[in-house]
Symmetry: C2
Subunit: 195 residues, 2 copies
């Protein structure tokens, strides 16, 4: 009926949504199959097991995150760095508001990781890369004279923690002034110690 690649992708998309909404364990292969419009055994033509499907989806998500960790330095200057940093956060907030499934499914992989070495090591890579992307950005900002060089790594990690946790707070539908919080965090980097 459909071609191979089309069905393959449909399985992935459906699994992504169902896993996020209902969780890995409460999502059976029958449910995925029905939603895709195939029978349960047909899934085994594409994936050798449910675990393999979960693992494949994980790697796809990891690659997505890694792509998002690459900041564009080309249009960053000494005068517009603060503005660009604000934009990066605002964009991340908008994205997290748009894709409600991402944080739900990612949290499940975090829990899986605490029981499975394979997921843990990959997740540590992702997390280190995420933190490094902010640290590198700040180092560049120091180089071009956009910020002073005191406590650069700590400041970068603080900002990374703020933006990362916004997604978790969104999970409960908590209506906060997230962009205001981000603005406060960003501007604090440019403030001078007064006592």
């Amino acid at each position: 009926m459909r071609n191979k690649e089309e069905t393959f992708n449909k399985i992935l998309e459906t699994a992504y949504i169902l896993f996020a909404d209902k969780g890995f364990d409460k999502t059976s292969l029958s449910m995925i199959a029905t939603e895709v419009g195939i029978s349960k055994p047909a899934i085994y033509y594409y994936f050798t097991s449910k675990d393999e499907l979960i693992a494949y989806l994980f790697e796809e998500i990891c690659k997505d995150i890694e792509r998002g960790n690459i900041f564009d330095y080309s249009d960053i200057s000494r005068t517009n760095f603060q503005h660009k940093l604000l934009e990066i956060g605002y964009q991340s907030i908008d994205e997290q508001e748009t894709d409600v499934h991402f944080n739900k499914i990612f949290n499940q992989y975090m829990l899986l990781a605490s029981r499975d070495e394979k997921y843990m090591t990959r997740l540590q890579d992702i997390q280190a890369g995420y933190l490094k992307s902010y640290h590198d950005l700040f180092n560049y900002a120091v180089e071009i004279g956009a910020i002073s060089d005191t406590n650069i790594e700590t400041k970068a990690h603080m900002l990374a923690m703020v933006i990362d946790n916004i997604g978790n707070f969104m999970l409960t539908g908590c209506r906060l002034d997230y962009k205001g919080i981000w603005k406060e965090a960003v501007e604090s980097v440019w403030r001078e110690q007064s006592r």
Copy 2:
């Protein structure tokens, strides 16, 4: 063999650890029963279902959190407020480092909440109370003249987000200078805008 209350508590303690380590779905009542030293049906004398056990544990954890949300204002003064705020964070970091199970199990309830209204409303209560405890503390600090009154709520929420996310980063064993990050966040509140 044991008395009623003793067995009841043993079930709760065992469930807490197993649920955290293996997850709700991968922890069967048989496993809990074996670990406690009773048979599976004996659990049904104390809880009418597995779901009830999970729900009971949730309420216990919620009460624990709410107790932790009450800050002691008695020894806070204009001069030692920054120091006290640092202490609050350091203590929270130490606690999260000690109880490795808490964040794992709490994350699972976050996911449960997105599929179950009952958990969601309770979790929203907890989250609102958590944020309010920081906001109230800051309002008190303004009253006694320990900080200026600009952007009080946003600053309080920013600090709450930082300390809250430290627990999530610990889940992957990420070794960061958490206390340094907290110190940076706290001190930023006292800095003046320079441009």
